[in-house]
Amino acid sequence: MSDLVLLLVTGVGLGALYFIAASGLSLIYGLMGVLNFAHGVFMTAGAYAAWLTMGALPDGWPVAARLVVGVLVAVAVGAVVGLVVEVVLIRPLYRHHIQQVLVTVGLSLAGVAAAQGIWGADPRPVERPEWMSGTTDILGARLPNDRFVYLLVAVALFAGLLALLHLTRLGLVIRAGVENRTMVEALGINVHRTFTTVFALGGAAAGLAGVLYSQYAGAVSPAQGGSLLIFAFIVVVIGGMGSLTGTAVAAVVVGLVQQLANYYAASGVGDLSVVLLLALVLLLRPTSLKGAMA
């Protein structure tokens, strides 16, 4: 019983990380049809920004306070990187989806290589607040505290994005743009400005995901973003390409399947079962992938 509770909580915690990583991808894909391979670089940028910030702040501060500042800086850096990439690289290629993908592929190669050149390929350890490394006893299971943090952040992000989509004018434009972009343009709304905003938003979410993932892994490394990105892709596909609620559900399912399979089958089976899950979804419901915004 306590094993199951532990697995469920860690699985949901992992799913929360996947959701944070995938939400930006899903938003961008839903509105713009851009498969953003550079998302991994955004995450890496966020992780390194937070790591550098935490190192630069005075040692007298508690680790948690430095982490909070680091997260804020990472989110800001992610947003700025997203903004710049969109304006400089993506904007001239609107309506050329393949070329947009290619540009982000080039960016992901160059970005990882640059990080490798500057900070080396080896993982650098990050400081974790003491409380996050500890555990809490619930129902006889010793649950790692950091999973609750990820879950809390993910729920807040999900609620925030839903509120943005459904309660604000910007959200209205985004949802309308997903439905029918041409019509929105015809009504005299500047969709391109919305694109930029969405890209910055996605970049901010990616920066957040980068920091939290480096906390989860206990280190920052150049290739980190890329490995998280692949699971984020899988989550986005299973969740229905651009549906935020679908992405959230898929993230939790993927996290749970991975944890449970890793424990009950063998270590490493979890990653495979996720891919199997993807194949199953494709075989059973290929039409669910047409894309919709919830």
Partner: protein, 380 residues
């Protein structure tokens, strides 16, 4: 949201075969076939001359300082050139997906790695003789391509790319986990030296491995040429240009795409086999998504949808990746700040940045750019 290739991927599977009727407008031969044939022969001349020069390289004892390590026919240069050629051939096989059929796949590494690992495994673990091992590797890779292709083609466009990426990632995980000690994990699987002919083993025999790589490139070139000129090849081009239209015209687009996947994967697997023979084993780097991405970069750099483009792109990329490290030691860079030098010391940074520039300013790749320059200077 919906890319042009997103529609109707599996609606016409049962109607017509890929080489069926309904493409009278796409017959390759125009009237005046004799002149056409002579023209075609003439156009083959540069390729044949280049092939002859390349085949003769192992007899050239000249040093080319700065470009090749040591003499041209030295083992270092031969090995580098052989690797470039193998990767060039593999890029050619990827172009069957991307440039010819318009399928953006992020999973080509899967088939290359399948060829490579199945060869080394069947040579040492299953103790098969080399010819059988090659056949087994190719046959199993083809089955794999059929299964993966059949599943992945249920979605189109960007989703297809993601699904192939996921499959390749699964293979990468399996290889890294090293089930039963079969794949060798991060170390890779070395080639069983007793199971291959002596000519392919050892430093002194580098020229033979070079010729093997050259043979692979020729085979890939011929297969792609035959495929492109066949009816199926024309159907692939039709799918690439406008899939909806092709399927309305009655082409079985699902079968056409599956054929492209199988042929491209088979060539890729053959490339993997040759890669294992040339480099003396299977390396887990072959399974990673970075490898597929680099194939994509090569094809686009050189020029998608052209044999020269893919081949030149693959050869140049591999060469640059191996040799650009020297750039960071160049004298003119020593005055730059440390950070800039650190970044420039990464070949992938230079290649990635260059790739972005090419996507913007030379959408038809380096060969397309070259062809345009030649034509322009000719018209003046």
């Amino acid at each position: 949201m919906t890319s042009p290739t997103d529609h109707l991927t599996h609606t016409h599977t049962s109607s017509v075969t890929p080489d069926g009727e309904g493409e009278a407008t796409m017959t390759p031969e125009a009237p005046g076939e004799e002149r056409h044939g002579a023209h075609r022969l003439l156009r083959a001349v540069p390729a044949v001359v280049l092939l002859a020069v390349l085949a003769f390289l192992p007899y050239v004892p000249v040093e080319v300082p700065g470009i090749l390590p040591g003499r041209v026919n030295g083992p270092g240069s031969m090995q580098l050139l052989a690797t470039c050629l193998v990767i060039g051939g593999i890029a050619l096989s990827y172009d069957v997906f991307f440039g010819r059929t318009g399928l953006l796949s992020f999973g080509h590494a899967l088939f290359v790695a399948a060829g490579s690992y199945l060869l080394t495994i069947s040579l040492s673990t299953w103790a098969l003789p080399l010819p059988f091992a090659v056949l087994v590797a190719l046959a199993l890779s083809t089955v794999l391509a059929l299964v993966v292709g059949a599943v992945a083609l249920r979605v189109g466009g960007i989703a297809f790319a993601m699904v192939t990426l996921a499959f390749a990632q699964a293979a990468s995980i399996i290889v890294m986990r090293n089930p039963g000690g079969v794949t060798g994990g991060e170390e890779g699987r070395p080639l069983d030296r007793d199971a291959v002919p002596d000519l392919l083993v050892g430093v002194a025999n580098a020229p033979y491995r070079y010729w093997l790589a050259l043979c692979f490139v020729v085979v890939a070139w011929v297969v792609v040429t035959l495929l492109v000129r066949s009816r199926a090849g024309h159907a692939m081009a039709a799918v690439r240009e406008n899939e909806q239209r092709a399927s309305v015209l009655g082409l079985g687009t699902y079968r056409v795409k599956l054929l492209a996947i199988v042929v491209g994967s088979l060539l890729g697997a053959l490339g993997g086999v040759v890669h294992a023979l040339v480099l003396g084993g299977s390396n887990p780097h072959l399974t990673t998504s970075e490898f597929t991405l680099s194939l994509l970069v090569m094809v686009v750099l050189g020029g998608a949808g052209s044999r020269w483009g893919a081949l030149v792109g693959g050869v140049l990329y591999t060469y640059a990746d191996a040799r650009l490290v020297e750039v960071s030691n160049a004298a003119f860079l020593q005055d730059l700040p440390v950070v800039v030098r650190q970044v420039l010391s990464q070949p992938l940074f230079i290649l990635g940045a260059f790739f972005v520039v090419v996507v913007y300013f030379a959408p038809s790749g380096l060969t397309g750019l070259g062809g345009r320059l030649i034509r322009r200077s000719g018209s003046r």
